[in-house]
């Protein structure tokens, strides 16, 4: 694996605020890598440091093995797609896209050829002479993308590029971006606060909070095996149950009930169980308990609320121990519905539950 971007011990302080706190990540060549976190978590600052628009207070940034140090943005082999695009309002689409090549003193004929090619790539043919203000948000977004891509950067940095688009267009662009990235084979470092966007597009995701790096993992691993409570609650919906490891693979929760869970912690450790609402199933209280497999955990409960959500049903269940959990059940023909007040069995597979140490 060739490493495109290597961050080692990156810290950024603004006056007395620590925006990025000792972050180390290696991003592979050709990877679609997302920096995910709530606003103010330091992800954009991290991106800006790779671009050279900010300099780290401590730590080293290497791009393809070259230490960047205090190298200014114009001397780095990266380009940025800015949040809200930052298109030059006094230039046409062609002039905007050709800007980087012109600065690099590429010949006019080559500029024309490459600009034409990238305009085709992002499907902006026919818009060449327009000014940014004469275009829709989606079109402006494509210009911003083309303006960066045309320079064939070693790494493309994207700062919430889809943030300003409406939902439908954003979803369409997610696929398009992913496809584009695979086609051009450029390393993408993608900043977003939208966990769904990160999950669907990325090869790997880094979750950040308050300047700290919490977990780096592929989307599936990130979702199935969150490293801590923040990651578990930031990505998707999660129920948390307080408990204590009783034996390997067994956790005792409120009410003294022992349940199965994925855990490597030693017995006696206080843990927090993370259960996804869609990984739990409901059965009537009088169902045949011997029909469940050995890996199933069965807990009795009572339906508190039922909400009809269209494609699924949302339940709030009080477990016998007293804890309340959210459960989603698919709105499919064979799935039984349970009304509030009904006694049910809540069932989950041990490996679907992660025990997190606090």
């Amino acid at each position: 694996m060739t490493i495109a971007v290597s961050l080692t011990g990156i810290t950024k302080r603004f006056d007395d605020v620590v925006a990025v706190d000792d972050v180390s990540i290696d991003i592979a060549d050709g990877e679609f890598f997302s920096l995910l976190g709530p606003s103010g978590c330091g992800k954009t600052t991290l991106l800006r440091m790779i671009a050279g628009l900010e300099f780290p207070t401590a730590g080293t940034i290497e791009i393809h093995g070259e230490v960047q140090g205090l190298r200014p943005p114009d001397k780095r082999p990266v380009n940025t797609v800015f949040q809200s695009y930052a298109l030059f309002p006094h230039m046409s689409v062609t002039e905007n896209i050709g800007f980087g090549l012109r600065m690099k003193k590429v010949s006019e004929s080559e500029i024309k050829a490459r600009v034409d090619e990238v305009i085709g790539l992002v499907q902006l043919t026919g818009m060449e002479r327009r000014r940014p203000e004469q275009m829709s948000g989606g079109q402006q977004q494509r210009v911003a993308l083309a303006r960066a891509l045309v320079n064939k950067p070693e790494v493309l940095l994207l700062d919430e590029p889809l943030g300003a688009l409406d939902l439908k267009l954003r979803q369409a662009m997610q696929f398009e971006l992913k496809e584009l990235q695979q086609r051009v084979g450029i390393t993408f470092v993608y900043v977003t606060h939208d966990q769904e966007e990160a999950l669907t597009m990325s090869d790997r995701i880094a979750v950040m909070s308050s300047g700290k790096l919490l977990q780096v993992a592929a989307p599936e691993e990130m979702y199935e095996r969150p490293a801590n409570r923040f990651v578990a609650s930031f990505i998707g919906e999660t129920n948390f149950l307080r408990g204590e490891v009783a034996a390997p693979g067994r956790v005792r929760i409120e009410g003294g009930i022992e349940v199965g869970a994925h855990t490597e912690s030693a017995p006696g450790t206080a843990v927090m169980l993370a259960l996804r609402p869609e990984k739990m199933f409901l059965a009537p209280a009088d169902a045949d308990r011997s029909a469940f497999g050995p890996d199933d955990t069965l807990v009795d409960g009572e339906v508190l609320r039922k909400l009809y959500m269209g494609d699924h049903l949302f339940y709030e269940i009080r477990l016998v121990g007293g804890a309340v959990v959210k459960v989603w059940e698919q709105n499919a023909p064979r799935v039984l519905k349970h009304d509030p007040g009904a006694k049910v069995i809540v069932d989950w597979r041990s490996e679907a539950v992660t025990a997190l140490e606090d």
């Binding site: 200014p72 114009d74 930052a86 298109l87 030059f88 006094h90 600065m103 960066a148």
Partner: protein
């Protein structure tokens, strides 16, 4: 059909509302209109009328025998010299103001709010005292006996700058520099710095980014500031009277001389009309080019 009737009714309604709102607008603006008509438009019309008047042998203005003599006189060598000197002095003043103001406005706009406000107040403090008094102060500063003059003399030279075009230009730059700083400051302050970052990201070094992004995006305010300096410099009277001499006569002093010493009111009026026309042309060019900007 009913739909059509409805839409026409709505259209009428909208038009009535428009007429109504423009009427209110006019009412609100009317004090200013009246002021401008009484104290600007009517006097200026009188000036235009006088410019076609004739003179008695003693020099008194006669509102009869209307003629173009005053306008023909505009092409006299003396007049052409005065006009070109005025334009030249105003141009040099404008260029110096621009060169001084742009870096300062840039510096000002990029400070944090507290420092910025202090500096802005400093820029405006001169307005708190009388322009005439301040210009007299410059007369002392620039005189051979003044601080600069003494220092220069001590080094074995003579300053001899007072009553020269240089002194007038120094006075004008001093007087009108804030008019250049303020629009430029406003322009740079509202500049979208992400555009400059984008240029830097696209391989432009600091200077190239400035030339390709900052400068073009503040162009219309450069023109605005230049006009704010050029137009009053062209008509300057006080500065030239106090800091200039016989050899630096400019339009302002020349016009006043026609009304006073020379007792040639029609010619003075014609000169005023020309000055007015030049300024109006400059402002018109500005509005035209301004309209084409973003």
């Amino acid at each position: 059909m009913a739909d059509l009737a409805d839409t026409t009714a709505i259209a009428h309604h909208e038009r009535d509302a428009l007429v109504e709102s423009s009427r209110t607008g006019f009412l609100v603006a009317s004090p200013a209109y009246i002021y401008l008509i009484v104290f600007f438009a009517i006097p200026f019309l009188i000036v235009i009328v006088y410019s076609f008047a004739s003179r008695s042998p003693t020099g008194a203005t006669r509102l009869e025998n209307w003629n173009f003599d005053s306008y023909i006189k505009l092409f006299d060598t003396v007049v052409v010299q005065v006009v070109s000197r005025s334009v030249w002095i105003a141009l040099v003043t404008t260029v110096i103001c621009l060169v001084l103001a742009y870096p300062f406005a840039y510096y000002l706009a990029t400070r944090d709010r507290r420092i910025r406000n202090v500096l802005l107040v400093l820029v405006m403090i001169p307005f708190w005292s009388n322009f005439l008094v301040r210009t007299y102060a410059w007369r002392f500063i620039l005189s051979n006996e003044g601080p600069v003059g003494t220092a220069v003399e001590w080094m074995g030279f003579q300053l001899n700058v007072l009553f020269t075009p240089t002194a007038v230009i120094i006075g004008l730059v001093y007087g009108f520099l804030p008019f250049m700083i303020l629009p430029l400051y406003a322009a740079i302050e509202r500049l979208d710095w992400r555009l400059v970052e984008a240029a830097r990201d696209l391989y432009a070094d600091g200077w190239t980014a400035f030339r390709n992004v900052t400068l073009p995006l503040t162009k219309s305010d450069i023109i605005a500031g230049s006009l704010l300096v050029f137009v009053p410099s062209l008509g300057a009277y006080v500065t030239d009277t106090i800091l200039g001499g016989a050899k630096t006569e400019v339009l302002g002093t020349f016009i006043v001389r026609q009304f006073q010493a020379a007792r040639n009111w029609p010619f003075g009026s014609a000169l005023s009309v020309v000055l007015m026309a030049v300024m109006l042309a400059a402002v018109l060019i500005r509005t035209r080019t301004g309209a084409r900007e973003v």
